[in-house]
């Protein structure tokens, strides 16, 4: 969805246009959910955050400027909600960091997605992503999985572009090392 299209859609949403909402909803609900699920590793939390993201869009549409990039705005809201969840879990006494995340936040119920992710490479990458701290994982999810430009991902993560690039470099290094270790161990 290009920026001009998004700009027009924001204008229509401000007028309460439901068909404009449907276009945005269909374009972003799956990538937003995938981002939230991989960030929180909790299906219920991801579903809750996804719903709240859409409710905030329709509730705060007046605060969006015409030049607002809708995709970045949606991912930023979703990202903040996901980190609220991670912080709350950490506050409740569960570890949020590095490989501990795999044990503490992983939803133990096998989801349809887990069942479907049968491909070995997919599984390795998913486990590798899970091994990263959330602040690095989110960068790979936005730039690597979503295909966002680093400058747009910096807006989502609320950091400067050069800081985002540093994080991206660290995240790629860490994931590559993790995959190599798995190869050696396996």
């Amino acid at each position: 969805m290009d920026s001009e299209t998004e700009r027009r859609l924001v204008g229509r949403l401000k007028g309460g246009d439901e068909s404009a909402f449907d276009l945005v909803y269909e374009a972003y609900r799956r990538p937003l959910f995938a981002f939230l699920y991989r960030l929180t590793r909790n299906r219920d939390a991801a579903e809750d955050a996804l719903e709240e993201t859409w409710l905030r869009l329709v509730g705060r549409i007046d605060t969006l400027r015409d030049e607002t990039q809708l995709g970045s705005w949606l991912f930023a809201v979703a990202r903040n909600l996901a980190f609220d969840f991670l912080r709350a879990r950490a506050f409740d006494g569960e570890t949020v960091g590095n490989t501990d995340l795999a044990g503490s936040l992983a939803d133990t119920r096998p989801s349809p997605y887990d069942t479907a992710a049968a491909h070995e490479l997919d599984r390795r990458l998913e486990r590798g992503l899970l091994a990263l701290p959330p602040s690095l994982r989110e960068v790979l999810l936005l730039v690597g999985v979503r295909g966002m430009l680093p400058s747009d991902a910096a807006v989502v993560c609320n950091v400067r572009a050069d800081a985002l690039r540093q994080r991206l470099h660290r995240a790629r290094d860490m994931l590559a090392r993790w995959l190599e270790e798995q190869d050696r161990a396996g």
């Binding site: 909402f21 959910f33 329709v58």
Partner: protein
């Protein structure tokens, strides 16, 4: 291009090819309906937050109307019985 860069690009390409998890379809429909209701209220100039409570408000309104109708009918029946001398 260094080997590292090549490896990095390869890694990003693999990440881009990852299949994504699917959100729950029924909940997605409920969320869409809720957002539609809020947008409809917006067109009518009512605050969006009332959308979440609108079904409850309609149910309460219907119950109140039914209760008032019952009270009125009860009074009317009693009045009719008095007029008939019973």
């Amino acid at each position: 291009m260094t080997d590292d860069t090549h490896d990095d690009d390869h890694l990003l390409a693999e990440l881009a090819a990852l299949r994504g998890p699917e959100p729950d379809r029924e909940r997605a429909e409920r969320t869409r309906d809720l957002c539609h209701r809020r947008l409809a209220l917006r067109r009518r100039g009512r605050p969006a937050w009332t959308a979440r409570f609108l079904p409850w408000a309609q149910a309460v309104e219907a119950a109140l109307v039914a209760a008032l109708a019952l009270v009125y009918l009860n009074g009317a029946v009693q009045r009719a019985l008095v007029l008939l001398g019973r």
